[in-house]
């Protein structure tokens, strides 16, 4: 059974993991769960333990202080585990991409996880500063296969 079909059959339960963010993306996650946007239409449920989660919503640029706890939380999530890196900080490091106290977003984390032998089945990047609740809904719909991917790598040749 492929990853996509296994996720499609059940509801993606999400675990909200703050790794040192400014709380803007966190508020937008809560906004997406309110009756106005209502992410629960897609079966999304916010759970309190990573052991119950299918999807980990990762916000923040992953500070060095929070790194051991982040690794523990991701290790605790059962397979197949999906990480959704939210915001500019989560997906690319944001303004703090080269500071001494962060590891620069989810790409730095994936290298460390690979060294430790923790496998992650899929990583979704959701840019935005902060993300709109609609952007999060779009990402969830993308995971479930409701909408198609719009963004592609573009290479232009100018003379």
């Amino acid at each position: 059974m492929s990853l996509k079909s296994s996720i499609l059959k059940k509801s993606p339960w999400v675990f909200h993991l703050n790794t040192g963010s400014c709380n803007a993306c966190d508020i937008e996650i809560l906004d997406a769960l309110t009756p106005y946007h209502d992410a629960e239409r897609f079966g999304v449920k916010l759970v309190v333990s990573p052991r119950h989660a299918d999807v980990i919503l990762l916000t923040g640029p992953i500070t060095v202080e929070s790194l051991p706890k982040v690794i523990n939380a991701i290790e605790a999530a059962p397979r197949p585990r999906i990480i959704v890196a939210l915001g500019s900080c989560g997906s690319g490091g944001g303004i703090w991409h080269d500071t001494y106290s962060t590891i620069g977003g989810v790409n730095g984390l994936l290298k460390i996880l690979k060294e430790k032998g923790i496998e992650v089945d899929a990583v979704y990047h959701v840019p935005g500063c902060p993300i709109r609740p609609e952007a999060l809904l779009y990402a969830i719909a993308l995971i479930k296969g409701i909408v198609s991917k719009k963004r592609e790598m573009k290479i232009y040749k100018a003379e």
């Binding site: 946007h37 303004i95 991409h97 977003g105 935005g128 993308l142 963004r151 790598m153 290479i155 100018a158």
Partner: protein, 173 residues
């Protein structure tokens, strides 16, 4: 104390449905909303003004021997639109696009590849071809010295001074 269920149903009935059907309808966006920026490759001259202005270094200039590449990494962009303000040829335009979620990291890149011009005398790589054309249009007198690099320009100037003072070029010996 607490609202009775019957009362609650009445309130909910008056309010009606509030949930938006977002992925199946157009998103509601305010006119002030700032989304991803779009680089027009037909206009861009590769000057690097946007690179200087960008707070999180989402725009970067990658220099190699023959090419200068302007790389836009939307995963790090904070959508401040400073690049839109500083661009001298208004090649960068702001859009309202926010549906950028991908499962592949490389999808977030936009590359604009520029060809590099070289110095006529020593052959070291200089600014882009477009940049040279833009400068010549703006400052016509620069046509005389634009094809040489600053080091060669200094040497030429020193030679000219030597010719005037001594009558013969000392640097050529």
């Amino acid at each position: 104390m607490s609202i009775k269920p019957v009362k609650l149903i009445v309130i909910a009935g008056k309010k009606g449905r509030v949930t938006v059907k977002y992925p199946f309808q157009e998103p509601i966006i305010t006119p002030e909303f700032r989304g991803e920026v779009e680089i027009d490759p037909a206009k861009c001259i590769g000057c690097g003004a946007c690179v200087r202005a960008c707070p999180p270094n989402a725009l970067e200039l990658l220099e190699s021997e023959k090419e200068i590449i302007l790389r836009y990494f939307v995963g790090r962009c904070i959508f401040c639109w400073r690049c839109v303000d500083v661009c001298p040829v208004s090649a960068i335009k702001g859009t309202k696009n926010f549906e950028l979620a991908t499962d592949k990291f490389t999808d977030l890149y936009t590359l604009v590849v520029h060809t590099r011009a070289t110095c006529e005398l020593c052959g070291t790589p200089a600014e882009t071809v477009r940049m040279r054309r833009y400068i010549t249009e703006k400052v016509p007198i620069s046509e005389e010295y634009i094809t040489t690099c600053p080091t060669c320009r200094k040497k030429q100037f020193a030679e000219k001074i030597a010719m005037r003072k001594v009558g013969i070029s000392e640097l050529k010996k």
